[in-house]
Symmetry: C2
Subunit: 195 residues, 2 copies
DNA sequence: GCTCCTCTGTTGCTTATCCAACAAAAATCG
DNA sequence: CGATTTTTGTTGGATAAGCAACAGAGGAGC
């Protein structure tokens, strides 16, 4: 049994079930106590899954955290139907909005100190944002001095960084306003790789 | 893999999971459509369980219906902490109350015509009521002309019959009042087997 | 009557999960 | 610090669940 990350579709029903149960149990626990103090036993007992089975899916609890964040962010993207979209200023705005809110709520509903799992969130979110942007750019005529890779990388880092910045602020301006401000900035990254 | 009915406790987690999923799926379906028109495929697809696995647990959908009713009525008894009780007028009243309500709500939340699965409910409920009464009687000093078996049988039939009668009435009196009326009747059955 | 289709049980084989046991790492306590 | 307990990964063998295929029963429509 492998941990094949991306194609979550045609999967053995047992595998789907097991992962979902583990994820749900983990979700509950992460809201109750600090991430560090959650043992693998805690998770498997609550999920009703054998401990050995856990290791058949994830090497450790960090991998499960990673998996969960990926799933959550994916769901967020799906919910806003961004994955099936094309590039546009409006869609970009929605994307930035989604990232800001995701970082905020995820940070908020976890009992752990921020520094402990923000790195995981950062990696996942940046990665997926970059992939999404690449898809968008790939659908367009490209003729530029900057490769899509470079542009998407820069934009994804910028978006995440700004989302984190906004969420850390003590006195935050309205999210709508904030996004309005940074939208042209991010757009510039991408425009450079367009015709 | 066997269908060992009674000891639901120390059971393979996989078995517990599978049965619960089947039961949940069946619960949903029974509220949506007629029992006859529910196929085993419907159930297994909704539950995310392989069809062959169904047959490893139940010979047919009637057995699942039976199982579900048993589980539900058990839960009802547990909820009212009757299973851990002794015989008393008050507990008997609660038991009759429970049967009346159970018959009513179960009949109500199923789309099927009454005649189709009431026999199943009847068998299950009467059986469990009888078992419970036997337990109660067994805890007491017995010295009578009537064996506990006979007394419990009579009482369980009477209770179920009256519960059904009450639920079929067009103009029903308050359940409390009804139970009050029949309590002495049922009690008489049981008293005959006591000291 | 006939065909077409769905549902039903059942089968052999594959795969995922369970379980008990283990040694080693890590945490806890005095 | 050492001693005890918990947690961690890992293993081999047992068992449940998945899957594809099958023949047969029943229904719908022609």
């Amino acid at each position: 049994m492998l941990i094949n990350a991306l194609p979550e579709e045609k999967l053995d029903p047992r595998v789907k079930r097991t992962r979902q149960l583990l994820e749900e149990a983990f979700s509950e626990l992460i809201q109750e106590k600090d991430f560090q103090s959650i043992s693998i036993q805690d998770i498997t007992v609550r999920a009703g899954i054998n401990r050995a089975t856990f290791y058949a899916h994830f090497p450790d609890k960090y991998a499960l955290l990673d998996y969960k964040i990926r799933q959550d962010f994916r769901a967020e993207i799906e919910k806003r139907t961004l994955s099936a979209c094309h590039f546009s200023g409006e869609n970009l705005r929605v994307l930035i909005f989604a990232v800001c809110e995701f970082v905020g709520t995820t940070n908020h509903q976890c009992k752990s100190p921020r520094g402990k799992f923000e790195p995981f969130m950062e990696a996942q979110v940046k990665g997926q944002v970059k992939d999404l942007l690449l898809t968008w750019l790939g659908q367009m005529e490209i003729n530029s001095r900057v490769s899509p890779e470079i542009a998407a990388t820069a934009a994804s880092w910028a978006i995440y960084g700004l989302a984190q910045y906004w969420n850390w602020e003590k006195e935050r301006i309205a999210l709508e306003e904030f996004v309005e401000q940074i939208l042209p900035l991010v757009e510039a990254h991408l425009q450079l790789s367009r015709v």
